[in-house]
């Protein structure tokens, strides 16, 4: 039986063998692996991309004080981004499951329609949730748009839900009982985090400070795009996106304000994307 860390190691070596660069998590709080620049910028231009990485993902509103065995305010995604999409990618994915000890022949593997959309990134994709014996273990997406622009070539993003896969493999009913590795359980490492961060996100976060920071990082992002450096400007997008998530979990955003916040994040993200494309895509005019 594989420990949590062994599952990660297996996935890393599988995708490394498939020619992916195994990059590291990006060092900012974020809601999903898609925010890692390897994917965000990786999907944007025609430059080939093959990356795999673990990404800690924070969803403040999903925290349950460590009480719910299936819900976490912070968890890990294992993410693969491939462009161009290799043919037979779904078979390759099945092989990766086998590598971590899930033989598709012994299980019920289903591909359930599930399209993905990120309003804050103006991004959308088409794909599936992959169900293993009824449990959603992976989100499989062909990106179609980013910054509301069609993407061609298309990238495929595979997001493994590591905790769910581990619970299935280890036959555990609670995420906190997972064997992490090094003689520790997932609970040993994460339970107090869950408890304290739930308190922070739902009860004690200083909303005035958070919304001030939102405004300031948004302004900083705008200033940086004017200076034509998309990478530091992108950090501002990631920051305000997480600040927005925290404010929302804290109940500090009304329905009408919510739409305005989403628009503000999206506008900055779009500016950064356009800037990045201008700087990095082969220039049609020069080529001609």
């Amino acid at each position: 039986m594989k420990s949590f860390q062994e599952i990660i190691l297996e996935l890393q070596s599988f995708w490394s063998r498939e020619g992916c660069a195994v990059v590291q998590p990006y060092d900012l709080e974020k809601g999903a692996g898609t925010f890692n620049p390897a994917t965000f910028f990786g999907a944007l231009t025609a430059v080939p991309a093959r990356f795999a990485y673990v990404e800690p993902s924070r969803r403040p509103a999903d925290g349950r004080y460590g009480d719910n065995p299936n819900r976490l305010g912070k968890y890990y995604q294992f993410q693969v981004i491939l462009k161009p999409v290799p043919s037979g990618i779904t078979d390759l994915y099945q092989k990766s499951l086998k590598a971590i000890g899930l033989d598709p022949k012994q299980h019920d593997l289903r591909w359930i329609e599930d399209d993905w959309e990120s309003p804050t990134l103006g991004a959308s994709g088409v794909g599936w949730e992959v169900w293993l014996d009824g449990m959603e273990i992976t989100q499989f997406t062909y990106f179609q748009q980013m910054g509301s622009m069609p993407l061609l070539p298309v990238s495929v993003e595979i997001t493994y839900g590591l905790e769910r896969i581990a619970m299935h493999l280890q036959k555990k009913d609670s995420v906190y009982d997972l064997e992490y590795g090094g003689g520790l359980t997932y609970g040993d490492l994460h339970k107090s985090q869950e408890r304290e961060f739930s308190r922070y996100h739902f009860e004690t976060a200083d909303t005035a400070l958070l919304s001030r920071h939102f405004n300031e990082w948004e302004a900083e992002g705008g200033r940086l795009t004017a200076l034509a450096d998309p990478l530091p400007a992108y950090d501002c997008v990631v920051r305000i996106s997480h600040l927005f998530n925290t404010l929302e979990a804290r109940g500090a955003i009304s329905v009408t304000e919510r739409a305005q916040y989403v628009t503000r994040v999206r506008n900055l993200a779009r500016k950064v994307m356009q800037l990045y494309i201008e700087k990095n895509a082969p220039k049609a005019v020069e080529a001609a």
Partner: protein, 724 residues
Amino acid sequence: MSLKKKKSPLEAMAFSDGQIPYEAGRKKASSPPRKAPARDFLLDVHTEPLPARFVAPVLEQLRTGAAKWLEGKAPHGEISVSGTLRHLIVTVKSVSPKGHDKSEKFKGPKEQAWKLPDGKFTPAAEGFARKYGLCAADLKPEDGILYAEVHSKGEASSALLQAMILDLLKSLQFPKSMTWEPSGFKFGRPIRALTCLLGDKVVAVELAGVKSGRAVYGHPVLAKAPTVLKDPSKHSAVLRQGLVIIDPAERREYLLKALELTTKKTGGRTEDDAELIDETVFMVEHPVPILSKLREEHMKLPAALLKLVMKKQLKFFPVMARDGSLLPYFVGVRDGLSCGNALVREGYQRVLEARFNDAAFFLGRDAASTLESKLPLLERVMYQKALGSISQKAARVESLVSWMGSHLRHTAPIDERAASSAARLVYADLVTDVVREFPELQGQMGGVYARNDGLDERVALAIEQFYFPVAAKTPIPATPEAAVVSLAGKLDSLSGCFAAGLIPTGSSDPYALRRQALGVVRILLEKQLPLDLEQALEEAVKLQPVVVPGPGKLSAQLADFVWGRAQSLFEEMGYASDEVRSIREGALKDLPNAFRRLAAVRAVRREPAFESLAASFKRAANILRQAKSENSEPPDRALLQDEADFDLYDALVGAEGAANDRIVRGDFEGGLKSLVAVKPFLDLFFEKVMVMVEDESLKRQRLALLGKLARAFKRVADLSEIQS
């Protein structure tokens, strides 16, 4: 199982050379093509998993698309389609090796303009002929016009089919399509392989970076190597060995049988949910049901909640006893084989239990406080920008319920206190955790919480059934109180949305107003409520927080909208559209009565005299319309003149009396039959006298007589609407 044999794909396809003359076909390829036999065509588009809901509609497009494309192009036999989430398959039997020869005629201008007097052709004529590969002398005159006639031999079928495949696949409409490879081709999901065969030959096409071939791909997990197919005849057998049942009807039958067998020992059977069955048929290629148990502790959760979690969240089939109650079992349908079933069952149970634990947790939290105590939270839930919060909507529904209660007090009294308590609480479950998680359970959960709060059963039931009917054929609220509260909710939504300009268009009806209007009609009809809908709509419009420039006009527009639903419901029941139109007047003032009037028209229409009566009646109505006579004063017998006038007058008075006796008893058929008795007198009247005479007084009296006749009939129906 052939899958497990270690054979190379080429060996695996060593079929007996049976039905299709493979060798013969080859020999004949060198002889004139005219003699080549007809061959079967196969197209198998192998894709990554298509969403279940895409497949059946796309197969239908393929069937009609192929038939339309081939029509007139090449002789062929039967066209059939089949498929799964990973295969879209078209077969065409006996395609002739060559398409139809074609003769086409192209029209040139007139002969004089083309022919010079010396009999030679103008250069323009030569040019026209050249366009079609002819000389001017080949042009054929016909009625003074020259035509170019072009004959072409039929194209080889393989070339035609190449074009057909590309046209068909490019024309398919998916609910949502995607791109995945550099050409930017759009399809429901990525295409992995194209198997295209005409007899033993590959029909070569390339689409989205995929070249057609003869390889066939079985189940992605269970089938090993692709099989190389020699010709179309073995295609479905090969896929069957690869654990794919390609025919949806066969797959359904297989699934239903397997479900029955699996549940036998439970003494119950899986719920007959057409939607889930359809979905499952297109979610698996080879269905294998697995029976699993529910935990006793979870059986305490509301059955609706259990079923919803099983069906909607996990696509599991609940198992029901004969009396419709839930048994502690469920069936998950896996795709493929039963190896590792114990493991899969364990997985199914674990995932379901996790969902049930979540649901139980929410339920416990919701039930910890009363519905009453949740009401203040509704102030913060927006219903619609212009129409305010849910709390405001609830207040409007409550006022409307109380208006309806007093309106019905003498005709169909209800327990007004119970109805008004229910109206107050009807939206409270919208702020519960369970409903936030499962919006489909709105209402049903409200009923659960109301009983938990110890409320009167009449109140709980009205809350539970507030959103009834949820679909065209599902039940309406059971009690009069529940019916009235449900009506009020719907009338408020209808008038609110119309007042805010959110009027449904042909394709878009985001607030499901058509369904709600149909709900109103069904409730009134099935509960026999004599509610004046026109007044109720006016009342509902008045309560809206929107300033409406012409409230009267808006109410009329709403009435027309609701009438539209009633009309289509009646037509669905088999009433002719002219019959339905004939009862439009006053129908919404009392819909159950309108329905009885409709039935009367239908019954009396069978009488021999009816058609000609309708014609005479139409004549009377036309005269009244042309005279613009809206005068409803009764005719004065003394001022009439001819015998025909008096006869009609007397017959009408008699018939009206007889009809009235019946109509007040609700016997509209008898009433209408009594009125039909005036027919000979009306005919005589039209034969003997003129209505539009010079004598103003007499004209007025005759118009008044016809007006009386029209009014008498309109108590049942406006016969001028009836088409002969």
